[in-house]
Amino acid sequence: MSAAATTHDHAHDHSHDDHGHHEQSFIWKYIFSSDHKTIGLQYGLTGLLFLLFGFFLMLLMRWSIAYPGIPVPGVDFIRSLPVASGIFEGMFGRWLNTDGSLNGELYNMLGAMHGTIMVFFGIVPLGFAAFGNFVMPLQIGTIDMAFPRLNMASYWLFFISGVLMMCSFFVGTGPVQTGWTMYSPLASTANIGVTSIWSHGHTWWLSAMVFNISASLLGSVNFIATIINLRTKGLGWMKMPFFCWAMFVTAFLLLLAFPPLEVAAILQLSDRVFGSSFYLPTGLMEGGKHLDISGGGSPLLYQHLFWFLAHPEVYVLILPAFAILTDVIPCNARRPLWGYKSMVYSVLTLGFLSFLVWAHHMYLTGMGTMMSTYFQITTVMISVPSVILLTCLMISLWGGSIRFNTQMLFASAFLPMFGIGGLTGLPLAFSFIDLAMHDTYYVIGHFHYVVAPGTIFALFAGVYHWFPKFTGRFMNDTLGKLHFWPSLLGMNLVFAPMFIQGMAGFHRRWYDGGKYFENTSGFSNWSTKLTHEIGAFFGLNIPDNMLSLNIVMSVGAFILALGQIPFIINFWFSLKGGKKSNSDNPWNATTMEWATPTPPPHGNFLFDPVAHRGPYEYSVPGHPTDFYPQWESEPGKPEIKPAADKVLAHH
């Protein structure tokens, strides 16, 4: 560690048990830090805030779907507040109908921004950047990332991109309304007559994405270089925790899939700003008038470039979830990870195959039989490694003595939830089914089951699991359970009815939830009857048709929202008031992040860690304890003392 100690700043010296690392001023320690842990936390907090914001957008949408034409509750209250009213008016208020209800225009904005924010600003920063940054260098036993300053640049580019994206709410035409996919030609020509290109949200969206992509590229270069070159002594590739493997593959996906999106964004920007026709076919008309363009381009070009990114992006969303679970599940089941090697090879195969399947999002574009056959085959193929990953996690539970703490609850809920998401995706792999299901709520249900109760549950598990390492304190378990059960209930209430509605043909872009599509929404089945009966039990008059499911989903969303309150309280309260962890390895885990002091100082380790064995040596026969950490040279001679029993007494 550097001997160049700067002034000791007691005011911000939060941790008294820090192990003698040098002190820096607040700005350099917490804002412009090049330390991977601080950057990880910055990413984490920003990501959580964006998740919350994206969720709020979804609540507004759900209100409009369940109660079209009815004023959003609380609007008058917000409008009466002094500062908030201005912000609310600038972001949403000016688009609401005069009575305070939503209209299609605002719904489209919310939809586009919900998708963008959740994917690019919520889950990727949280799953990949936050957990990867914090945990990965610790697990491979290094002092920092390979390029610490690049790492800082990565976070701040991401921050700028977030600011630009939020700015787009306040500009003239408001944020983009063309879905998170920004399909051209609509996205290239929407509101093209505005006075200034900067008064259109699209320009801001594209600029923000350019920054976001640059940040991802820097981050992924850093991750890969770190994993290749900075693994500690003894940590061969096949001794590396699966967490690092998953991050490694994710980083490759980001590295190689994002540039085509950058191309797509640049070409679209050129279409909008310079009037080129990359995505605009000859003879394109709008409002009965030929546009002043040369034509000759192709909207398909955009879709190809976009989905070349966006399919690997799906695995960027899900692999960090698997990464987290492979630490949480073996640790809490006290069993080694089942099939470590097959998981590693699966994740590598998954990473490669994910680049070959993108056009299954484009069956509806008039693809010939040869191409669609090819993409159907690769799509079905890619489900095999996904199933292997999930199965290995499930088998890892077999015969374990499972501790059902909060992170394990989230982790074990992930398994069936992701299973539902994955299995409902299988039919969509076939073009003849997809043609009917395209853009219905069935698709929405499918990928939300993968990402929401899937990835987000895993992310929560990760927060609960590593919180003692971040802070030296535990999160409260009771509040954690209060967080888990409503979340599980809410998630399923929101997403399960989507399958039923989707089969009935409900389209994802109906801001009124199908109210004006009587042929689609007017019939009933068991689910609507059930809803009707339950409503009647509580004295509510819920109609016995498909629209009733909208109400179920909105109630689910509301429960989900309430369920996050314990988490927020728990998170902030536990930072200062949580139960102290008196061990550096409170969960008795085996991977190397638990060999560091708590919280890990700048430079991480107090000794030079050496990996003596594989990462999941739980319940090794003949070993005195039920875990055998990677860094211990021989039994009974641990460099780090094991956790006191009382820490785990409440399990």
Partner: protein
């Protein structure tokens, strides 16, 4: 705290960190340019117009190729000299590299500038005229008596801003108007602010979503604006980009073009192209065109008797894309077989005496379907050309900045830790070679094939 393996290689991988980093970055760059090149292919195979071949200045492109290759040699030499600890030669080679980058960008700017001053006009029958606009092109309105301004009450993308979007195009001095309540004002920033505030107040009271202001000009106004500066027009109304509508009379929207090329490849019977209408180039030029065309067809039939003349893109271009090099049609038998592109003769300055060499036509608006200068708007070829070369140019600038930084500001490292600097130069050099490598593909794809 020092990150391991920044200077010396890790034994088992044999690499220092930055080298892995730069190769990973280059891998993502491969995908970036891969995406752009596949866009190029996609656009080219899907093009519904003859893809331009040899349309750019090949000489300039070739000079740039040589310059870039030379800089690639010098940057690897700089690294070798640093490894040999010959610091003087290192500096020399590095300096040449940076200068080469400057020359490359200078040539590029010449090329871009010539494009911006050169126009193409598509006529209703598919003929494409290329040439220069000696006086620019403006839509002129006269007798404008009334302005209708719209001020939305909520923040919106289009709101009345006559000071920014109307007044700059009004000819003559300060415009005077009468408001609805008979006040006479000179329209400027402050009077408009007061007016709109009043109108907004009224509209709010009346519970309307937008306020309208009607201004009557005290004396009829004249307006002249480029089509890009206004939103649209009819014979009697002119809509500005801020949504303001002026009522008046269309005076002139004819386009004066100095024609230097007639591209009749899009016309079924090329000799009947609208360009040879009696109002435009006329019979004499038509004769010259037909003569030139038939001459090329005959030559081709003689040289390649087995080939189909409709399938040779080069022949189609030479025969049907007729270049005009004089103000009047050449006498019979002259002016055959020139192989030069239009650009070779287009003066880089844009305007000048050279224009006396081209005939001038005055095109009527009803005959024009589309016009643009040689910018991304013109067609997908120029769109991808500007995007590819522009992004490549950005890479050149970025690479040159990094190398210049090593040359100018890394002297301390040069004295104290030349090995580390050598690593940095190697990494910077790898990026530079990659930029060269991209150009190796760009040059034939855009300039030659």
């Amino acid at each position: 705290m020092d990150i391991p393996y920044t200077v010396h290689a890790r034994p088992d991988t044999g690499l220092y960190n930055a080298k892995i980093g730069i190769w990973l970055f280059l891998a993502s760059e491969v995908m970036l340019f891969g995406g752009l090149f596949s866009a190029y292919i996609f656009l080219r195979v899907g093009a519904d117009y003859p893809w331009p071949v040899h349309d750019l200045d090949v000489t300039l492109g070739f000079v740039n190729t040589v310059v870039l290759i030379a800089s690639s040699v010098t940057v690897v030499m700089a690294w070798a000299m640093l490894k040999l600890r010959k610091f003087g030669l290192y500096r020399l080679n590095m300096a040449i590299t940076v200068i080469c980058a400057g020359v490359f960008m200078f040539n590029k700017s010449l090329e871009y500038k010539a494009k911006f001053a050169h126009y193409a006009v598509k006529l209703t029958d598919g003929t494409l005229l290329t040439g220069h606009l000696p006086h620019g092109y403006q839509v002129k309105f006269e007798g404008i008596t009334e302005l209708n301004l719209t001020v939305p009450l909520k923040k919106s993308a289009v709101f009345a801003d006559p000071v920014g979007y109307v007044l700059p195009f009004v000819e003559g001095g300060a415009a005077k108007f009468k408001t609805e309540d008979g006040k006479e004002i000179t329209l400027d920033e402050s009077t408009f602010t007061a007016l709109s505030a009043e109108a907004v107040k009224k509209a709010t009271e009346a519970k309307k979503s937008q306020a309208t202001i009607k201004l009557v000009a005290t004396s009829p106004l004249k307006v002249a604006a480029k089509p890009s500066e206004i939103f649209g027009y009819t014979d009697s109304t002119l809509t500005f980009r801020d949504g303001t509508v002026a009522t008046g009379k269309l005076a002139d929207d004819k386009m004066t073009l100095e024609v230097d090329g007639v591209d009749a490849r899009g016309v079924a019977q090329s000799e009947k192209s609208l360009a040879f209408d009696h109002r435009y180039l006329g019979d004499a030029w038509q004769k010259a065109f037909v003569e030139n065309r038939d001459h090329h067809f005959e030559e081709f039939a003689k040289n390649y008797p087995t080939r189909d003349k409709n399938r040779s893109a080069t022949l189609q271009k030479e025969a049907l894309f007729f270049k005009l090099h004089s103000a009047t049609p050449p006498a019979a038998g002259e002016g055959h077989g020139d192989k030069h592109g239009a650009e070779a003769h287009a003066p880089a300055e844009g305007h000048g005496d050279a224009h006396a060499h081209h005939p001038t036509v005055v095109l009527e608006k009803k005959d024009i379907t589309f016009f643009s200068n040689f910018t991304p708007k013109l067609n997908t070829y120029y769109a991808i050309y500007f995007t590819l070369t522009g992004l490549h140019g950005l890479h050149v600038v970025a690479g040159a900045l990094v190398l210049a930084y090593f040359l100018l500001f890394d002297g301390k490292r040069l004295r104290q830790d030349p090995e580390h600097l050598a690593n940095r130069v190697e990494v910077g050099g790898l990026f530079w070679h990659f930029v060269d490598l991209v150009w190796i593909f760009l040059f034939p794809l855009l300039y030659l094939l």
